[in-house]
């Protein structure tokens, strides 16, 4: 499998002088094309900082991040927007849909800013909506649909452009358990049927169990890594809980 993302000895420090916070101490890993990687960790473990660095929103203090062979830490400020547009897709915790646009227009926006020919836009929107089962709500506004539907729309927006990597930040954070399950099914489907490469940050063991591989962060470092392999999702979930218990946060996650 081709390597899509590679992180080499990433470090991120905040502050200066004697008051330095080490958000990321030293992290290295890689993600292959079509992989569904989960990143777990307690608050302050460096999950979001890591995501910000990968998404080029924040800069690293040391180390390199390669996306499809290109070092994103070397990209000039002027080119960042274009790079993000062409390579990354985002799914936010709070959906981040535009209230001024309908669901279909929200999805189309990702295509239009990538300068997809206007004749293709509607067809592609309809196609992805069919796959994610949101066809009936295409003409509604975000405030007229449920949280789960909103998040599926956000998924459609993230994947419609076929980005090299989809970054999901706590995508089930604002959903109830039923909607979470539906959404995670959708994200899995995106990964398995559409071949999308997904990097999902979460602190929820159940959500993480949908991933194929999980990195556990603690104090800015990778604590351990587990792979699902051929195990069932239930088995994988149990292994996640075991790791969390080992890390000291397991009882919280179980209870």
């Amino acid at each position: 499998m081709r390597e899509v993302l590679r992180l080499e000895h990433i470090q991120k420090y905040y502050g200066n002088g004697g008051n330095i916070t080490k958000a990321i101490r030293d992290i290295s890993f890689s993600v292959e094309e079509g992989e569904f990687l989960g990143i777990m960790g307690a608050s302050g473990s460096g999950k979001t900082t890591l995501l910000n660095c990968i998404s080029t929103i924040d800069t690293v203090s040391a180390g390199h991040i390669f996306l499809d062979g290109r070092d994103v830490t070397e990209i000039r400020e002027k080119e960042i927007a274009r790079f993000r547009r062409e390579n990354l897709g985002f799914i936010f915790q709070d959906f981040n849909l535009l209230d001024t646009l309908t669901i279909s227009e929200n999805i189309a926006l990702a295509l239009t800013i990538s300068k997809v020919p206007s004749g293709e836009v509607e067809g592609r929107v309809r196609e992805i909506a069919r796959r994610l089962n949101i066809e009936e709500i295409l003409d509604r506004y975000p405030w007229q649909v449920s949280g789960g539907q909103k998040q599926r729309c956000a998924c459609a927006r993230a994947v419609v452009n076929h980005p090299k990597l989809i970054l999901a930040d706590e995508p089930t954070g604002a959903l109830d358990s039923h909607s979470s399950r539906m959404l995670l099914g959708t994200i899995s489907g995106m990964n398995e049927q559409l071949g999308a490469t997904i990097l999902m940050v979460t602190h929820d063991s159940f959500s993480a169990s949908y991933a194929k591989r999980i990195l556990f962060l603690r104090d800015g470092e990778i604590f351990t890594e587990i792979r699902r392999g051929t195990a069932s999702r239930k088995e994988f979930f149990d292994r996640i809980l075991d790791v969390l218990t080992m890390m000291g946060g397991g009882s919280d996650a179980v209870l």
Binding site: N52, D58, R84, N96, L98, D99, T100, L109, T112, I113
Partner: protein, 751 residues
């Protein structure tokens, strides 16, 4: 203590929200105080003994207070904006258990702090504004200006009371609002989009009202044409009457046809489309109807139609109604056009960030259509007022210059004199006696008669055929010397003409072409080589309803019938106002008003200058004040309209940045969006007011060239246009900058 700290903290935190409010309120207070200071008891500029300000004060105070009522609307709008910005916070406070009343009281205290702060700043700036007004006043009276810093306590108290009252009224309204809105609506208000603006009842109601007005206009057109019908009228008059029936009638017919159009009630979309057809038709017909109503006044003036003031006012009202409907329809169609482009042209919709831009604009179309229409109408009024100031004030000043050319003017009118024996032949010696008694030295003095060419003309009393009078050459030369001009010469068989400045060049040439020779009771005279003079010799030199006077050799005048007896006096120093009024009183005792017989008039330049200058100043000050207040209201509301969305902008533009839109594109989107919302009302009102003022300037072109001068008016109008554009630019740039700052930041980076 906790509440007090909360108020302070909120006021501090909302400082940016309050910035435009604060600046605008300060500007309003500055204007209010500055203009009102002229009426203060303690206000005493050095105008000299011959003038006083008593007459001006009351008129000015009334004008300012009336115009200032408009400010209440602005205060109300800004309060509404603040409530919308803060309602989520109010909802949270309520959920946490705070009484609604306490929330409202906290908000009231907060607005009061900012309001009072703006009153203090406004009064301080108003002291500077007051200097500007004083400079304007002294310039009107032709006096030198010296900078003095004075705080007028009565004006300051009045300003404070006015604005305090305004804040209290608004506070009560706010409290009611905060108590009334359900908590759930407060929490979710910002998430909801407005409904399609085409479903709003605003335009259908306006259109219905306009339809009723069209019925009235058509009926009026028919009744006026019938009432004033005369086949002898020239073609333009017939056309005028015809068009005033044709256009409103055609609009009515079009409305009826539209009502009968099939598919009107089939589904909502279909209805919307057909309504657009009606509005588009009425847009053009309202313009045509406005043109038809606009020509009524000039045609009536040019062809001496017997249309009364009531008819002219009625057509002026129709004209205003047509213009208002035209503006409403134009804005509706412009917004409808935006929606239509979005709905029907996928190529445009899906190009780059257009989809986002359309979303930004269309989501607020319902309220903005209404607000922008009102702003457009108000802005048009404001621009017209601004442009009318130099025109009207220049007219008043120029007219004053033309008529107060001598310190004292005595004149007569024989319009109601039916016997030759009753014609005046007085030298007004009591005036000389009074001036001597008051130790006012006469510099020059000319008593003269005006003659009729032939005796029979004495009975000629038809208004449009009133005889032109003649003056003896020696008297004319005396007047020229009094005014500092060189005397003229004439042969014994020659005559020449002296014209009022208002007369047009074509009229003069046309008249003289038909009057090369003149038959009089003393024989025939021929036109001298220098046939036209137009020295400024005062307007009482001419017979009623005429713009010229003949100048005949003295020997000719000896045998003519003298009908008017005038006396013009210039004095060494200006006659003090008090003495001038006393002289006028003595004169009216000597020559009391009578219904029949000769009418006698006296005019002193002191009294004329005092009253006319005061009137012109009130006119200039009140109009400038109204125009500035309206302009500030329009621009502030336009700016707030955009800024009210700012909290959402951070999320919306943050998302655009997250998904890879460059900052330069985001700036462009913001610029286009502001350009649309500022551009539509400013563009339309600019165009409409240019046409309206062009129409007025054309209608009064004779007065403009006589009293102001075309070049002078062009320069002044141009200067005002530049100032207005500058103000617009200031508001636009500051709103744009605030929007850029407000839209900065990314959503992804939250920690």
């Amino acid at each position: 203590m906790l509440y007090f700290r909360m108020i302070l903290r909120n006021a501090k935190r909302s400082a940016r929200d309050y910035l435009i409010y604060f600046v605008t309120m300060t500007l309003c207070v500055t204007l209010f105080y500055g203009f009102l200071s002229v009426t203060s008891r303690y206000y005493d500029p050095d105008l000299g003994v011959e003038y006083d300000l008593d007459f001006m004060s009351d008129g000015m105070k009334l004008a300012i207070c009336l115009v200032s009522l408009l400010l209440l609307f602005l205060i109300w709008y800004v309060n509404r904006y603040m409530i919308r910005r803060r309602q989520k916070e109010f909802a949270l406070q309520t959920i946490m258990g705070m009484e609604r009343g306490v929330t409202a009281a906290l908000f009231f205290a907060e607005t009061l702090i900012m309001g009072l702060l703006s009153v203090v700043c406004g009064i301080l700036l108003g002291m500077l504004g007051s200097q500007f007004i004083t400079a304007m006043l002294l310039q009107s009276y032709g006096r030198p200006f010296r900078l003095t810093w004075t705080l007028f306590p009565d004006t300051a108290v009045l300003t404070l009371l006015f604005f305090l009252l305004a804040y209290l009224i608004m506070g009560a309204w706010n409290t009611r609002m905060i108590r009334k809105i359900p908590v759930i609506d407060m929490l979710h208000a910002e998430r909801k989009n407005e409904e399609d603006f085409r479903k709003s009842r605003w335009m259908p109601v306006l259109t219905l009202l306009y339809g009723i007005l069209l019925c009235w206009m058509t009926a009026t057109g028919i009744s006026k044409a019938y009432f004033y019908w005369d086949p002898r009228y020239a073609l333009p008059v017939h056309l005028m009457f015809g068009f005033n029936i044709l256009f409103p009638g055609a609009a009515l017919l079009y409305g009826v046809l539209w009502l009968m159009m099939p598919g009107k009630r089939v589904g909502k979309k279909k209805r919307g489309r057909s309504f657009r057809v009606l509005i588009a038709g009425w847009l053009f017909l309202s313009l045509a109807s406005a043109c038809a109503a606009a020509v009524v006044s000039p045609v009536s003036m040019d062809f001496y139609l017997p249309t009364g003031a009531g008819t002219l006012n009625q057509y002026m009202m129709f004209l205003i109604a047509d213009i208002i409907y035209f503006i409403c329809a134009l804005i509706y169609l412009a917004n409808d056009g935006i929606c239509m482009i979005k709905e029907r042209f996928p190529k445009i919709r899906y190009r780059g960030e257009n989809l986002f831009l359309f979303g930004q604009i269309v989501s607020k179309l319902r309220t903005t259509t209404k607000t922008v229409t009102l702003i457009c109408i108000t802005l048009t009024l404001s621009i017209c007022l601004f442009l009318a100031v130099p025109f009207l004030a220049g007219w008043a000043d120029g007219y004053l210059e033309q008529r107060s050319v001598y310190d004292i003017q005595i004149s007569t009118q024989y319009n109601d004199t039916y016997e030759e024996s009753e014609l005046p032949d007085d030298n007004y010696d009591f005036v000389t006696a009074y001036l001597e008694e008051q130790k006012i030295k006469i510099k020059d003095d000319c008593t003269f008669s005006l003659y009729l060419l032939v005796r029979d003309e004495f009975d000629q009393r038809v208004k449009y055929d009133f005889p032109v009078a003649a003056i003896a050459l020696s008297d004319y030369n005396h007047l020229l010397t009094m005014r500092g001009y060189e005397p003229i010469t004439l042969d014994d068989d020659e005559f020449t003409t002296q014209w009022q400045s208002i007369a047009a060049e074509e009229t003069k040439k046309e008249f003289l072409a038909g009057h090369r020779e003149m038959s009089t009771d003393s024989g025939t005279l021929k036109l001298s080589e220098e046939g036209i003079y137009d020295f400024a010799l005062g307007e009482t030199l001419y017979n009623t309803y005429t713009d010229l006077v003949y100048v005949f050799p003295d020997s000719v005048c000896e045998n003519l019938l003298a009908v008017n007896r005038n006396r013009y006096i210039t004095t060494e120093e200006s006659v003090p106002l008090e003495k001038a009024l006393e002289l006028e009183r003595i004169f009216s005792e000597n020559y009391p008003e009578t219904e029949q017989g000769t009418h006698y008039y006296i005019r002193t330049s002191s009294q004329q200058i005092n009253s006319t200058t005061a009137m012109a100043f009130i006119l200039r000050a009140a109009m400038t004040y109204s125009a500035v207040v309206l302009l500030v209201i329009c621009f502030t509301i336009l700016a707030l309209q955009q800024l009210s969305d700012l909290p959402d902008w951070k999320q919306r533009f943050g998302l655009l940045r997250d998904i890879g839109v460059e900052d330069s594109h985001i700036s462009r989107i913001i610029l286009i969006q502001l350009g649309v919302w500022f551009g539509i009302p400013v563009g339309i009102s600019g165009a409409v007011s240019a046409v309206v003022m062009g129409y007025f300037f054309r209608m009064y072109r004779a007065q403009i060239s006589a009293y102001i001068g075309k070049a002078e008016l062009t320069v002044q109008t141009g200067a005002i246009a530049v100032i207005l554009l500058g103000l617009l630019l200031c508001y636009f740039v500051s709103t744009w900058q605030m929007c850029l700052v407000g839209s900065a930041g990314k959503n992804w980076c939250r920690e």
